[in-house]
């Protein structure tokens, strides 16, 4: 077991999700580290596909495992972030409170990203992690300096990216102009 509290909290969160057979994908900083270069991250983000009933079972499982679940979540109220639903569960470890943010999958893009999640090692476990292409698209949307650096690193390490998928979703998400900064479109061939 890792000594890193945030990694421990992430893996314990995944244990609960997997026990209930919920589809999930690690996203955010941990996913970026899985496909890019080493850099510290203290954010545990997981996309999950769960209906309200399953979500309540998940909260109960989290509580049983020693997590703190905000009381409003247990009555069905989730946080609203940009029109999407998010829940946060907390765990005290190493003298600090660590959160796992759970994003409820809605919309075609996140569903596609969940379907395309791949197995990757985090700690000594194989877990489902958002594929590099989907992570690149999310980071293109955020476009902070650190997101752009993450994209550079993912592109450096992942030699074979699914370019048609990237271009298709960049177009659907209205971020083709951002994508071409990293992957200029090849010129049409003569004749």
């Amino acid at each position: 077991m890792t000594d890193l509290p945030i990694e421990r909290v992430l893996l314990e969160s995944i244990d609960q999700i997997e026990r209930l057979g919920i589809d999930y994908a690690v996203m955010g900083g941990f996913a970026a580290r899985a496909w890019g270069l080493p850099r510290p991250t203290f954010d545990a983000d997981i996309a999950i596909a769960a209906d309200p009933e399953t979500l309540q079972r998940l909260f109960a499982a989290f509580e049983e495992a020693g997590f703190d679940v905000p009381p409003e979540h247990k009555t069905g109220f989730l946080d609203n972030v940009g029109g999407f639903q998010k829940a946060s569960v907390n765990r005290f470890a190493d003298q600090h409170v660590w959160s796992t943010d759970l994003f409820l999958v809605q919309g075609a893009f996140l569903r596609s990203a969940l379907d395309r999640a791949r197995n990757a090692s985090i700690g000594y476990q194989q877990v489902r992690v958002m594929a590099p292409e989907d992570l690149i698209l999310l980071k293109l949307i955020a476009s902070r300096r650190k997101d752009l650096a993450d994209i550079e690193e993912i592109v450096t390490i992942c030699q074979s990216l699914d370019m048609p998928y990237l271009r298709q979703w960049a177009s659907k998400l209205g971020i083709t102009d951002r994508l071409v900064q990293f992957f200029p479109t090849p010129p049409p061939s003569d004749g």
Binding site: T2, A34, L37, G82, Q95, S99, G123, A142, I157
Partner: protein, 67 residues
């Protein structure tokens, strides 16, 4: 900044081997951070979390516009 040779060596590692490198660096960073006064650690983690939450808001609001 990593040298090209180091990046090439990292690229050739298996994904589990790479994760051990990630873990080593993250453990080092966490051990360094823990040496600061508790309030300062809390402040830095909160700042990091706030930046992260702000990025989530941007991403999800964008996805909402392109369902």
């Amino acid at each position: 900044m990593l040298s090209d040779a180091k990046i090439e060596a990292y690229r050739k590692m298996s994904q589990p081997e790479r994760w051990r490198e990630v873990e080593a660096l993250m453990t080092y960073a966490w051990n360094q951070l823990k040496q600061l006064p508790h309030d300062e650690v809390v402040r830095r983690l909160a700042r990091d979390k706030k930046e992260h939450d702000d990025a989530d808001e941007i991403i999800l609001a964008h996805l909402r516009r392109f369902p």
